[in-house]
Amino acid sequence: MRRWLPCWFGWWFLAAAGAQDGEQLFTLYCSACHGADGKGANEGAFPPLAGSRWVSGEPERAIQIVLHGIHGPIEVAGRHYELEMPPQGAMLADEPLAAILSYVRSSWGNAGSAVTPEAVAAQRAAGLDRAGPWTAEEILSRYPLPLEASVLRDLLSRSYEGDWSELPDFAKLTAANVEEEHDGWLKVESAPFEDHFAMEWEGRFEAPETGEYEFLLDADDAAELRLDGESVVAVTGLGPMDGSRSQTGKVHLDAGSHAFWVGYVEAEGQQGIALGWKVGEGGGYRWLTPVQASIREDRLPIVVGPEDGRAVIYRNFIDGTTPRAIGVGFPGGMNLAWSADHLAPELIWTGAFIDGAAKWVDRGTRPSPPAGENVVKLSAERFLPEEAKFRGYQLDAEGNPTFVATWGNQTLREGWQPGACRDGVPCLVRSLSLAGGSASLRVPLGEFAAIESDAVMARDAGRSVAELRPGLTLTFRYRLPH
């Protein structure tokens, strides 16, 4: 095997131009996403590095992320992102990586130590077995985020055994365990139980300044924060700690001590609590728990639906069907997802058609779920011959589609439009017509019972089947569940 000469002429050249400087390298390689000011480019559409615990503390975590990249869901400063940071380790040598990381860790108010090329080299050697980018979960299990000094003083935790689905009246209970929490952190691990318990913490919250405070609380299961005896924020009922139930609450506090109390209930299964706070505008949360909560962004729905009484087509990945999905939203809250892979209808549902917000954020990694109710799976397979091909669709004046498929000398046209059942109840009308050839077609109608048709329906292996002969049109009325 040939030996590679580590001949860093390129870097010699950059160094001559003064580019070994961390700020210039950061500007070149990183700022398009993280922003020249470290706050995340495009008003925070990308994760900030300024004030981020991801780059503070011991440098190993940040070095590993830069070397190998990171992908998938990640929470930074209380916000949820789904992005992809490509690995830089195969491109950038130890010296420039160290310069970039040192710059990031010492800029915009960050106060981390400098990173040496040797530290980068050591992490490179440590990660040699790694294939592909980190996930947030993976790297945090190896390199947890650093803890900040808590602003809680004189903190006590009390644990109670019992079965609750909401916060009990703690005054009536006898604690099974009491701990002095000298580090000022709320930790469910202080309870000597795994399931079926409650906890309360009492202490003092030392507000560093006078101002508007925002608290972010998430828990598995229920929790509540009270300051000076007043409820500030609560997560109620049973459920996971994944951001879907997290809550924020605001309170004006004067600088100084405030009576602090948190109650917590765990039913069974997973457990946890996360509580963060910030004061004033902007900036990330600081934490009173070793784990962080996130706010699942309250994204405004991007409504896709019929306009001006016309049906709308939505082509994208739709949950519950195949990649070549074609959604059709009809007026009157009736919706269809037709598969151009299977050349067959796959889903019908009622109510709202599609919320584009799942798809049209960040890189758009998630498929769009049907936005309405009563989603019914009609079929999940192809009934046309293997050689049948999708030929597209034609819209009528109301925007209703007729899908076309061809094979051999035969053409199947499948129209969908809103209509009414015999009793006048609105329904979706599917028309199938076959042209060319002499072979008739067996159309499986699946398990969906609420179909009206004049077609002769047979039972075939327990399923309804209609026979479609060339030159004929069959009509089926799909009564949507309500």
Binding site: R2, C7, M91, R324
Partner: protein, 483 residues
């Protein structure tokens, strides 16, 4: 009056700062107003008859703009022609229809009843695999000389090939037949043709791509990423190449004659980070002095680069130059109209860019003054021949000290990207100013076959004493011409 800004680019390289000196001529960039309230993350542009321009958005809407060629862009009018198509990336007008490459298929879109909205969507071809992974993009070209559409199919997640033809380029005939054409693609950003009608695409730095580059889609070729090689058997092609890992392009292509070296490497960081659109300047001078050259979009740096190509032996090679920058978002599609209007669309959702707007649609026109630039760079047996856009000052242009060269290559490997390796410093031994007064012949010692050769010409002055607008070029020397 519309907002217009004179483009004249500094050559600071890493942190180029637009300089607004109109006296140096150059190019005029104007933002084209977009329909109010709409999210116009532009992903395709098509030129239509009667001075209409069609665009698609990443959300899948298809809009038509009237007035995009006008002097007063505040007068543009938009109407929506179709909506909610599947992440389209490539569109052209042909015989009364818009032909659209969207993620799952090539579609011919027509307004048959003349009401201004599309009503017929004919699927021309949907024969490539699709798993539902968001990164399986499909970039479609305009029609080639036979009417075929070339479609570059990104890998699954840009790392694997989980369905047929991911990581391949296919051609689709007007009748809808799909012809597997090239393997070995990673993550394309755009596709187009050069003056000879050969197809090129941009591929992004990552696995098996030490740097981003412009690559020649020679039919039957392997572009270097072996992840999609499982589909050779479907194509009925011979056993695919299995490159050594790590290696060098110049070593591996000696083993595999179908492995096409990148025609022009776009050195990562120095030239760009995410190349996209590929557009030929076929305006015969209406877009300035670079007729016949290619323009490359650059998403991360919000720039347009310029490329000159030549064939040495059977391979394309050439140089990239910095050209235009300061666009408002990350550039994705471009189209150059016959009158010399370059239409540029951009977005930075999910991929950051220097331009800080979430999306943009812009027009660039040449102001009529020839900027003092390197026009093209050609390899010759003893060195390079460099032609400028204007006559040069013979003293400075004939002085070897006016030039500097360094050269390097990249590791060809499965890891993501590569450092610059095997660096050398070729020396400019002598320079001769040719009779035309615009060309210099440089005798250079120490060139390396396969390396990127980075030329600086900071010392050269024009006859009127001007310095070069962009004094740098990066030439990919796949082959050294024989004397």
């Amino acid at each position: 009056m519309s907002v217009s800004t004179m483009l004249r680019w500094s050559s600071a390289g890493i942190l180029a700062i637009p300089c607004w000196a109109a006296s140096l001529g150059g190019y005029v960039r104007e933002e084209i107003p977009l329909p109010p309230g709409e999210v116009m993350e532009i992903s395709s542009i098509a030129l239509m008859p009667e001075d209409q321009v069609a665009v698609t958005t990443r959300r899948g809407d298809l809009w038509i703009c009237d007035g995009a060629y006008g002097e007063d862009l505040s007068q543009v009018r938009w109407h929506r022609f179709a909506r909610d198509l599947h992440e389209p990336l490539g569109m052209f007008w042909k015989e009364g229809s818009l032909w659209l490459t969207q993620r799952p298929e090539l579609t011919r879109i027509t307004d048959t009843d003349g009401d201004g909205e599309a009503d017929r969507f004919e699927t021309i071809c949907a024969d490539w695999g699709l798993t539902g992974n968001y990164h399986e993009y499909a970039f479609g070209s305009p029609p080639d000389r036979e009417g075929n559409v070339w479609i570059a199919l990104c890998l699954t997640g840009s790392f694997t090939s989980d369905a047929p033809w991911r990581g391949w380029c296919v051609r689709v005939t007007p009748e809808g037949e799909m012809i597997p054409t090239c393997s070995g693609l990673r993550s394309p950003g755009g596709i187009g043709f050069n003056r000879e009608g050969d197809a090129f695409y941009t591929d992004n730095q990552g696995t098996w791509n030490g740097s981003s580059s412009l690559k020649w889609l020679r039919p039957g070729s392997f572009q270097g990423n072996p992840v999609g090689n499982s589909w050779h058997r479907l194509a009925g092609w011979p056993a695919p190449p299995e490159p050594k890992d790590p290696s060098r392009m110049v070593v591996e292509r000696a083993r595999f004659p179908d492995l096409v070296p990148p025609a022009v490497i776009l050195p990562h960081g120095k030239v760009g980070q995410s190349p996209t659109a590929v557009v030929l300047d076929d305006t015969e001078g209406r877009f300035g002095p670079f007729a016949g050259q290619m323009l490359i979009g650059e998403q991360t740096h919000s720039q347009v680069q310029r490329v000159c190509l030549e064939k040495v032996g059977e391979w394309y090679q050439g140089a990239v130059f910095h050209f235009l920058e300061g666009f408002e978002a990350g550039i994705v599609p471009m189209r150059l109209a016959g009158d010399g209007s370059l239409f540029v669309g951009g977005t930075n959702r999910g991929w950051g860019s220097r331009g800080s707007k979430p999306f943009t649609f812009e027009r660039v026109r040449w102001g009529g003054e020839v900027p003092f630039e390197m026009h093209h760079l050609s390899a010759i047996p003893e060195g390079f021949e460099l032609t400028f856009t204007e006559p040069v000052d013979a003293t400075s242009a004939g002085d070897p000290a006016s030039y500097a060269m360094d050269a390097w290559t990249y590791v060809y490997q499965s890891e993501y990207g590569s450092p610059e390796v095997d660096a050398v410093a070729p020396t400019v031994r002598s320079v001769q100013v040719m009779e035309d007064g615009r060309t210099v012949r440089m005798v250079i010692d120490g060139r390396v076959r396969g390396h990127v050769h980075h030329l600086r010409a900071d010392g050269v002055r024009s006859v009127t004493g001007e310095a070069l607008v962009h004094p740098e070029a990066w030439y990919t020397l796949n082959e050294i011409p024989e004397g």
